[in-house]
C-alpha cells in the first residue's frame, strides 16, 4: 500500500477512527494487526518472512537477557545476525555477487556458472533488518533491556508508518513509547496531519514532477550533452530529497497522529556547508546506524589517522551497497567516502585558503560558498545513484560540461518530453514548488516550523492548509508512483 494511493486514503481514516474509538488496551493489538495488513497488502508471502525474523530476534533477545556472560550471549547474537543479514543477503545481494563473480571469471577466461535466484526483494527488508540488528546488538551489549512481550516486539519491528522505508528506529527510543498508552490529543494529531500534508505535497507536486524531467534523460543519456544533462541532474537532486523526505514526513506524521514520535531523518540537508555536515542532516537514522554499529566498532576515529579514513571509506562503501545491489550504488557510496576523506585531509589547506580570500572574516559568505560547493558535490554524486548502469553514469559524469555548442533545439524537446505539451506551465509549477520547499527549509533552519505556524492568524493558517491541499489536488501528479526508497 502506497501512502499516495487511494487504498491508503481509505485505510488511514478508517484505521485512525478505529484506533481512537477502541479502549486503550486494544490499540496496540489493532496497531499490530494494521501493520501486518499494511505489509501483507504488498505481497502476502513476505509477511511470513517478517514474522519469522521477528520471532527469531525476539527469542534471541529474551534468551540473551537471561544470560549474564557475554560468551553465553554471543551464540544468540550470531544467530540473530545471521538470520537478519542472511535474509538481506539472499534476497538482495545473492544475484549481485554471483553475477559479479561470473563476469569477473568471464573476463579472466575462467569457466564459471552460478545459479540465479528469481526472488523479488521484500519491501522494507533493508530497513526492518537494520532496525532488528540494532536492537539485538543493543541487547547483547546490555544497553537495552530485551522486550519480553512478543506482541510489543512484533509491533516494534512492523510498526506500519515506518516499516517500509524507515526512519530506522532504535529500541531505546521506540519500545518505551510502545509501552505507554496514547490518548487522543488535538494538538498532536493536528501536528501529525500537517506533517503528512506537507510530505504528500513534496511527493506528488515536487518529486513526481521533477521525475518527469529527470527520467527521459537518465533513461537515454547518450542522446544528450551539456545543459539537458545538467538539468536532469539538478532535477533528480531535488526529486530524491522531496521524495524521501516527503515519505519520511508522511511516516512521522502518521505516527504522530497515532501518538508516537519517530526520529528526525532530514534536517535541511541541502543547506549543509560540507559533505560531513550533509551526512549529519541526510537520512540521519541510517547515518546514525552506520556510525554506531559499523564505524565505532571498527575503531572510529580513535585508531589513528589512516585507519580513521579507512573506516570512513568502509562505512560509505557499505552504505552504498545498502542502498542497492549494483555497482552504481557502490560507486555513489565510495564517492561520498572519498569526499569525506578529502574534506578531512584538506581541512587545514581550506582554512588557510578561506583566510587568504577573506572568507574567514565573512562567516555568512563562507557558509553560502560552502553550501553551494557541497550541493554541487552531492548533486554530482547523485548521478551514480540514479543512472541505470555504470556506463550511463560515466557518460553523464563526463558530458555534463561538454557539448554545450550543440544546438539546444535538437536536444531540449526530447529532454522536456516527459513534461508533455504544457511544459512551460510545468516548469513554472516546478520552479514555484521548489522555491516553496527552499523557503520552508530556510525557515526551518532558523527555528521550529510548528511554532512559526502557530504565530499565524487562524484564518491565514487555515487558508494555507486549504491552499496546500488544493495545490496537491490540482498540481499533483498521481498514478501511484512508488517512493524511491521503497526499492531498498
Amino acid at each position: 500500500m502506497l501512502f499516495n494511493s487511494l487504498h491508503f486514503l481509505v485505510f488511514f481514516p478508517v484505521f485512525v477512527g478505529l484506533y481512537f474509538g477502541l479502549p486503550a488496551r486494544w490499540r496496540a493489538p489493532l496497531l499490530l494487526a494494521g501493520s501486518y495488513y499494511f505489509y501483507l497488502s504488498w505481497k502476502p508471502v513476505y509477511g511470513l518472512l517478517l514474522a519469522a525474523t521477528t520471532l527469531l530476534d525476539y527469542f534471541s533477545g529474551v534468551r540473551m537477557s537471561r544470560l549474564a556472560a557475554p560468551a553465553q550471549r554471543r551464540p544468540w547474537l550470531y544467530l540473530s545476525l545471521a538470520s537478519n543479514l542472511g535474509t538481506l543477503f539472499i534476497f538482495k545481494y545473492f544475484n549481485f555477487f554471483t553475477d559479479t563473480a561470473v563476469a569477473l571469471a568471464a573476463a579472466l577466461h575462467l569457466p564459471l556458472a552460478a545459479p540465479t535466484l528469481a526472488l523479488a526483494l521484500p519491501v522494507g527488508v533493508s530497513f526492518y533488518t537494520f532496525q532488528s540488528v540494532a536492537y539485538i546488538v543493543d541487547v547483547y551489549q546490555g544497553k537495552l533491556e530485551a522486550e519480553q512481550n512478543l506482541g510489543r516486539f512484533a509491533l516494534f519491528v512492523a510498526f506500519w508508518p515506518q516499516l517500509v522505508a524507515g526512519p530506522i528506529e532504535r529500541g531505546g527510543q521506540m519500545l518505551p513509547q510502545l509501552r505507554r498508552p496514547h490518548a487522543f490529543d488535538y494538538g498532536r494529531v493536528a501536528n501529525g496531519l500537517r506533517l503528512m500534508a506537507w510530505g504528500m505535497f513534496k511527493k506528488v507536486v515536487i518529486a513526481d514532477r521533477l521525475a518527469l524531467l529527470a527520467n527521459p534523460v537518465f533513461d537515454h543519456p547518450h542522446r544528450f550533452t551539456g545543459l539537458p544533462l545538467l538539468l536532469a541532474v539538478a532535477a533528480f537532486t531535488i526529486q530524491i530529497y522531496a521524495d524521501f523526505s516527503g515519505y519520511t514526513d508522511l511516516a512521522r506524521g502518521t505516527a504522530r497522529v497515532l501518538g508516537y514520535k519517530l526520529v528526525l531523518n532530514f534536517r535541511q540537508p541541502y543547506l549543509a556547508t560540507s559533505v560531513g555536515d550533509f551526512w549529519r542532516r541526510w537520512h540521519m537514522s541510517l547515518s546514525g546506524w552506520f556510525r554506531d554499529y559499523v564505524y565505532i566498532p571498527l575503531g572510529g576515529s580513535r585508531a589513528g589517522r589512516v585507519r580513521t579514513q579507512l573506516n570512513v571509506l568502509i562505512v560509505f562503501f557499505l552504505s552504498g551497497l545498502w542502498h542497492g545491489a549494483s555497482w552504481t550504488f557502490v560507486l555513489w557510496g565510495a564517492l561520498h567516502g572519498g569526499y569525506l576523506v578529502a574534506e578531512s585531509l584538506t581541512a587545514p589547506a581550506r582554512a588557510a585558503l578561506a583566510r587568504r580570500l577573506g572568507l574567514a572574516a565573512r562567516p555568512r559568505l563562507q557558509r553560502v560558498v560552502g553550501t553551494a560547493l557541497t550541493l554541487g558535490l552531492v548533486a554530482y554524486a547523485w548521478i551514480f545513484f540514479r543512472a541505470n548502469s555504470l556506463p550511463d553514469a560515466f557518460y553523464i559524469a563526463t558530458h555534463l560540461f561538454s557539448g554545450w555548442e550543440r544546438p539546444l533545439a535538437a536536444q531540449l524537446p526530447a529532454a522536456l518530453a516527459g513534461l508533455g505539451r504544457h511544459f512551460v506551465a510545468e516548469l513554472l509549477v516546478a520552479a514555484g514548488a521548489v522555491a516553496l520547499l527552499a523557503a520552508v527549509d530556510y525557515r526551518a533552519e532558523r527555528g521550529s516550523m510548528a511554532a512559526w505556524l502557530a504565530g499565524w492568524p487562524t484564518a491565514g493558517r487555515w487558508a494555507g492548509y486549504a491552499g496546500l491541499l488544493l495545490a496537491m489536488l490540482y498540481l499533483g501528479i498521481f498514478g501511484s508512483s512508488q517512493f524511491i526508497y521503497f526499492q531498498f
Binding site: L6, F20, A118, F184, Y186, V189, A190, L193, R209, G420, H422, A425, V429, W462, Y465, A466, L469, L470, L473, Y474, L475, G476, I477, F478, G479, S480
Partner: protein, 324 residues
C-alpha cells in the same frame, strides 16, 4: 476529537468542493487523454478491437451510420495500444467488462496483425496456476499490470478510478486543454483517436523521419519477438466469447508499404494463420493490408484515410450475410 473532525470536515469539504468544480469543468470542456473517453463511455453493444492501428483507422460513427440497423449499439472503438491491448487475458477481461450486458446482435471488428499476437522472446515465467501453461511454467503477459488489464470500472462518467490511477498529468492541465484547435490528438466520444496532423504530403521529410523511426522500432521487435501460441489462444477465446453476443470479423488493417514488408518478412504465413482461425470459428477474415492509404508515420493511417477505410469496411460488412 469532535472539534478536529468538524474542522477537518469543513476544510476537506471546502477543498473537495473547489476540486470537484474544477474537475467537472475540466472534464466537460477540456481534453483528458488518448484513453479516458473510452472508459467514460457507457457499455457498448458493438466494438472495434485492436491496438493503436485500429484506434486511429476505424471510425465507429461511420460503421454505425451504415450498419446501425443491423447491429446493436452503442458503437465504440475500444482499441488502445500495442503495449496496452494486444490479445491476451487482460484485454479479454476488459472487453467483457465493457460489453453491454444482454447484447445479442453486436458487431465485433477484431483488428489483427502479427505484433498484437506476439510475445517477446525473453519473458518472465511463473510456476503458478494460470490456465495458459507453457510446459510446466506459465507465461507472464507483459500487459498484465497495464491500465487496460487492471482497470475495474470501464464505463463510469466521470471515471474517478481511471483519473486517480492512470491520469499521468495534473488536473490543472485539463483546464488548459480546452482549445481543441490546438490539440493534435483528439479522442472522439465513439473511441476513434483522431491525429490532427497536416497531410503527409505537406512535409515529406517529416513523414520520412517518422517512418524511419517507426520501422526501426518494429524491425527491433521482429528480431526479439515471436508469434505466440498463448496470444493466438487468447484471440480464439475472445472470438468464442464475442460470438455469443453477435457477429465477429477479423480485419487486417492497411499500413505503410515498408511496414507491410517488415510484417510479411516477420510472419510470411500470417494471413494463412488468420484465415485458418477464421474458418475454424466460422467467421470472415478481411485483409486490407496492401490497400494504398496514406499514413502519418508509416504505420497509422491519416485521419482522412481512416474515414475512407471505415467507409470501405462498412460497405464490405454490409455485403456480408447477416448473422442468423
Amino acid at each position: 476529537m469532535l472539534k478536529l473532525v468538524l474542522r477537518l470536515g469543513l476544510l476537506l469539504g471546502a477543498v473537495g468542493l473547489l476540486g470537484a468544480l474544477g474537475l467537472a469543468t475540466g472534464l466537460r470542456r477540456g481534453y483528458v487523454d488518448a484513453f479516458y473517453a473510452r472508459f467514460a463511455a457507457p457499455p457498448a453493444g458493438s466494438l472495434v478491437l485492436g491496438t493503436s492501428r485500429a484506434a486511429q483507422a476505424i471510425k465507429p460513427s461511420v460503421l454505425a451510420a451504415r450498419l446501425g440497423s443491423r447491429y446493436e449499439g452503442p458503437w465504440l472503438n475500444y482499441s488502445f495500444t500495442l503495449a496496452e491491448s494486444p490479445y491476451g487475458p487482460g484485454y479479454l477481461s476488459s472487453i467483457k467488462r465493457k460489453l453491454m450486458p444482454g447484447t445479442r446482435r453486436g458487431l465485433f471488428v477484431l483488428a489483427v496483425d502479427p505484433w498484437s499476437l506476439s510475445l517477446l522472446n525473453k519473458l518472465p515465467y511463473r510456476g503458478a496456476t494460470n490456465p495458459l501453461r507453457l510446459g510446466e511454467k506459465t507465461v507472464i503477459f507483459p500487459e498484465e499490470k497495464s491500465m487496460v488489464s487492471q482497470l475495474a470500472s470501464v464505463s463510469q462518467n466521470p471515471n474517478l478510478d481511471y483519473l486517480a490511477h492512470y491520469l499521468h498529468k495534473p488536473f490543472y492541465q485539463l483546464l488548459l486543454n480546452t482549445d481543441t484547435a490546438r490539440v493534435i490528438e483528439r479522442l472522439h466520444p465513439d473511441g476513434w483517436l483522431e491525429i490532427a496532423l497536416p497531410p503527409p504530403t505537406a512535409n515529406p521529410a517529416l513523414l520520412q523521419r517518422r517512418t524511419a523511426e517507426k520501422l526501426a522500432t518494429y524491425r527491433g521487435l521482429a528480431t526479439s519477438s515471436h508469434l505466440a501460441g498463448q496470444r493466438l489462444a487468447s484471440l480464439h477465446s475472445t472470438i468464442i466469447f464475442l460470438q455469443t453476443h453477435g457477429q465477429v470479423v477479423l480485419v487486417r488493417l492497411p499500413t505503410g508499404p515498408d511496414m507491410a514488408a517488415v510484417e510479411t518478412s516477420y510472419r510470411p504465413d500470417f494471413d494463412q494463420t488468420m484465415q485458418k482461425l477464421a474458418n475454424s470459428c466460422g467467421i470472415r477474415y478481411l485483409n486490407y493490408l496492401r490497400l494504398p492509404y496514406p499514413t502519418n508515420d508509416g504505420n497509422h493511417l491519416t485521419r482522412g484515410a481512416a474515414a475512407q477505410l471505415s467507409q470501405r469496411l462498412a460497405d464490405d460488412l454490409a455485403r456480408l450475410p447477416a448473422q442468423p
